[in-house]
Symmetry: C2
Subunit: 92 residues, 2 copies
DNA sequence: TCTATATTTTGGTGATTAGCAAAATACGGA
DNA sequence: TCCGTATTTTGCTAATCACCAAAATATAGA
């Protein structure tokens, strides 16, 4: 669970997650959105995978990444609840 | 704003925030809750202050830390909204 | 002014991290 | 099997980070 926070700490990774919110994308497509070398992005993907924030599917020579929205949601809700932050009302 | 995520990435700092949710505490009181040297905690306080997640008030020789709940709440809500995560319904 | 207490600042170390180039892997097609 | 494309792995460097001991700062009280 702590891996989620670590994953979110990096701005590039947050941007990757935002991009994946719109639609799933291949590793190469994602890499094109950044001014970074592909191995660098590949490392970021690995961190996001380790945190289970994204799922990957390999088709042919291409790897498609998809946002694992439930993990992100649970992590943020856990944090909100940990601090008794209800926002729009948490029903308690 | 990005400093908030960095601040939340460390488990010791998250624990400090949880402790401050219960009640405000002095630097020394907080330090006693951890198995870490005081300068280490002092560094964590500085990170939390830089992120504006805590406020400090000096009275005599003692510095009292208090949770800045609104900053934490705004940061988490911003993240939730950024990912269109409503949780219990975001009224849109 | 001297001492004790509370806290931060300084200076240093070891671990982790983000970045890159180059090499390796995996796959599809000729 | 050989080639080209997509992606990851490896090996490295520079920067950041958590941690500590020791020194510095600030305040209260004798």
């Amino acid at each position: 669970m702590s891996e989620v926070y670590k994953a979110l700490a990096d701005p590039t990774r947050r941007r990757i997650l935002e991009l994946l919110r719109e639609r799933e994308m291949s590793a190469g497509e994602l890499a094109d959105q950044f001014d970074l070398a592909k191995p660098t992005l590949s490392g970021h993907f690995a961190v996001l995978r380790a945190a289970d924030l994204v799922q990957s599917e390999k088709r042919g020579t291409t790897i498609t990444y998809r946002l694992n929205i439930s993990v992100l949601e649970e992590a943020l809700l856990a944090l909100m609840n940990g601090f008794r932050l209800g926002g729009k009302g948490n029903g308690s």
